[in-house]
């Protein structure tokens, strides 16, 4: 397959990052959202992200224009029929994802790979409603997509060898990231390990061992993390972290996955991290820490 046009479903944080990264690699992107308002918001967020890179000299004005010109706004699935691959990146809701794949299965020719950017859900279940489950696969990108050169490639029970090989080639040769092969299991490798670490940091915070600043400082400086575990949670979205932990807790049944009470309280209070401007730390609208 000569990849030229990729569909991206969902214009949230990850959908924006994936679209921008694909466009920067020279691919045309059809970005899908339910409404024009949501699409415009996603597009303007991508623009903001590019402006920040321009400010940091990472790209030129011409490059910014070129990247934006490759991202096309789409509100109907029917337009995805001409894509060479589709990557779904809506919120982590199994039923909603199943529905998306069911529809994609009908719109896209059967040789087109349908990938999900799920971080914890079962690919086998997501593919459940499709006629061609062999072309469904997981492609888990990590935030911030443009900077993190890793993709977990997750095989569902029915994912074919061809689909896997082709996806690996796409990841390594087209988007030039490292592809790690993972078998289906809740949280795969990255989410499972990082969520447990975040949860442990929350226990440390809840027990009054150290302040949020000190915990993050210790891990950042001590172990060369770019962000400490609490700022990491703020950036992922506390609701997403909570959902991931709850799912793993349910699936594995082990106490180490039980979400800390601090996390639950924060989510109930609507302090979801960067996207609401406040989590364990405060952020401006560009996502920079105050």
């Amino acid at each position: 397959m000569n990849y030229k046009k990729i569909g991206v479903i969902g214009g949230g944080t990850m959908g924006q990052g994936i679209s921008e990264m694909l466009a920067a690699k020279g691919l045309d992107v059809l970005l899908v959202e339910e409404t024009t308002e949501k699409l415009n918001h996603a597009y303007s967020m991508i623009e903001t992200s590019l402006d920040k890179q321009l400010e940091k000299w990472a790209i030129t004005k011409a490059e910014k224009k070129l990247i934006l010109s490759r991202i096309h706004k789409v509100t109907h699935f029917a337009e995805l029929g001409t894509c060479d691959m589709v990557i779904e990146s809506i919120s982590e809701d199994l039923d909603a994802k199943k529905e998306v794949f069911k529809q994609l299965d009908q719109v896209c020719p059967s040789n087109i790979i349908l990938a999900s950017n799920t971080s914890t859900l079962s690919l086998t279940e997501i593919a459940g409603g499709t006629i061609y489950p062999e072309r469904v696969i997981g492609m888990h990108f990590i935030y911030p997509v443009a900077k993190i050169n890793l993709v977990e490639i997750i095989r569902g029970l029915k994912t074919s060898e061809t689909t896997f090989e082709e996806t690996k080639r796409f990841v390594e040769e087209v988007v030039e990231k490292r592809g790690v092969m993972v078998y289906e299991s809740p949280g795969f490798v990255t989410s499972r390990i990082i969520c447990v670490m975040i949860n442990e940091a929350l226990h440390v915070l809840g027990e009054g061992v150290a302040s949020a600043e000190e915990i993050d400082e210790a891990m950042r400086v001590g172990y060369q993390f770019q962000y400490g575990p609490l700022e990491m949670a703020d950036r992922f979205g506390l609701d997403s972290v909570l959902a991931a932990l709850e799912r793993m807790f349910r699936e594995f049944g082990e106490l180490k996955y039980r979400p800390s009470f601090v996390l639950k309280k924060m989510v109930r209070a609507g302090h979801l991290g960067v996207k609401t401007g406040e989590g364990f730390f405060k952020y401006d609208k560009d996502g920079d820490r105050l």
């Binding site: 000569n2 030229k4 020279g26 890179q53 940091k56 000299w57 990472a58 790209i59 030129t60 900077k147």
Partner: protein, 401 residues
């Protein structure tokens, strides 16, 4: 003999077909946007009407096939059949230490160019694509590669090494390689011809100043020093490149601004030079306009550019213990009257006298811009890298037969 010269980029391909009996250009052209469904082929046959065609060209093999179709086209073509093309010459950016001149393409030569991907990750891979594409379309036709770095391989160790731990040279081949070699070599040869003197007796400073810019000290016909280094970032201030700076600026800024390696590379290569200082343009024509209007930022950009260029000329006069000729070439060098004038005005200590009227002449031919009294000859010589590659190709192919 007819020779096709190819310059392949990642998504573009330039070509020129020469009749080497009189070195005339039969046709030239450009394929852009390779890899897309709306690729553009612009074909300019000499003496015939220019044609532009938009079609899907997904890779270099198709691009070259389309070029050959055009060259042999009954209406727009200039030759009867592909068989008339007896050799192909390719421009390759990096020849490392292995290539000290142009070379006939063999499997070993291709393998060596591949080994150099590490040093020129953006430029050498498309060259290999161009070579393979030509092989597929013209099986059996000898191919030659000409390298931007080859001319500078005559630099001595004391010139090409950086004073940093030598293990880095051994392990990663960190040293100065230079660039624009084909151009520096071409204009230095034409200089000797123009002055009707033996190149062995001449000390020439060639100034290739275009969007990228480099100076070379050519002594006795060989490059003894050049201003670009491991990459084309070292040396002169350029359109968007910084040129020389204290290396600590890089680590200091990375730390202060929290920049990644690719961000700082982009800053130095695409956001610096004339563009950074003027804040408006990387094009010398705009800078000169701004300077003439008295705009402060453009004036500063112009002055920095001129000053840095002049310092290098002084350095190379010292490097060779004298200079017989200074030559200007490439976009800015051939066309900017004011850059030449300002640089030369401040080189009177070398005994240079510029003829302001001659300096204003616009022409496509080699010309002198210094007065008869000037102790150093100053020339403007339009560069022609394609012709140089065609000549090398012809020579190498004839030798191999």
């Amino acid at each position: 003999m007819k020779v096709l010269v190819i310059n392949a980029g990642s998504s573009s391909l330039k070509y020129q077909l020469y009749n080497m009996t009189d070195e005339s250009v039969l046709a030239k052209g450009l394929v852009e946007r390779i890899g897309m469904d709306s690729s553009i082929l612009n074909h300019k046959p000499t003496g015939k009407e220019e044609v532009t065609e938009v079609s899907e060209i997904l890779e270099h093999t198709t691009a070259i096939r389309k070029v050959l179709d055009k060259l042999t086209d009954p209406e727009h073509g200039v030759i009867e059949s592909i068989g008339e093309i007896e050799a192909v010459g390719h421009r390759v950016v990096h020849g490392g230490e292995y290539f000290k001149g142009s070379a006939l393409v063999t499997p070993e030569v291709k393998a060596e160019i591949r080994r150099l991907f590490d040093l020129a990750p953006l430029h050498n891979p498309p060259a290999i694509m161009g070579i393979n594409a030509a092989e597929i379309n013209m099986p059996g036709v000898p191919q030659v590669v000409a390298f931007d770095t080859a001319f500078h391989q005559t630099m001595e160790e004391k010139v090409y090494l950086y004073p940093i731990p030598r293990v880095l040279y051994k392990k990663h081949h960190v040293r100065r390689y230079g660039a624009h070699g084909t151009s520096h070599q071409y204009v230095s040869r034409i200089t000797a011809e123009y002055l009707d003197r033996s190149i062995e007796d001449l000390k020439i400073i060639t100034c290739h100043i275009g969007n990228g810019a480099s100076l070379t000290a050519v002594k006795g016909g060989v490059s003894v020093d050049t201003s670009m280094g491991l990459t084309p970032l070292e040396g002169l201030m350029m359109g968007t490149r910084s040129g020389d700076l204290d290396p600590t600026v890089v680590t200091f800024v990375m730390n202060k601004e929290d920049l990644s390696i690719s961000e700082v590379n982009s800053m130095l290569n695409k956001h610096s030079g004339l563009l950074a200082i003027s804040g408006s343009s990387s094009d010398m024509r705009d800078i000169t306009d701004g300077w003439e209007e008295g705009k402060p930022n453009e004036t500063l950009a112009f002055e920095m550019y001129e000053y840095r260029l002049r310092k290098y000329i002084g350095a190379y006069a010292a490097a060779m213990n004298g200079v017989d000729a200074i030559v200007f070439t490439a976009g800015v060098g051939e066309n900017s009257v004011i850059v030449r004038e300002k640089v030369l005005e401040n080189l009177t200590y070398l005994g240079i006298e510029i003829d302001k009227e001659l300096n204003k002449v616009r022409s496509g031919d080699p010309r002198r811009i210094s007065t008869p009294n000037s102790k150093v000859e100053v020339l403007v010589i339009p560069t022609n890298e394609e012709l140089m590659i065609a000549r090398d190709t012809l020579n190498i192919v004839q030798e191999s037969n």
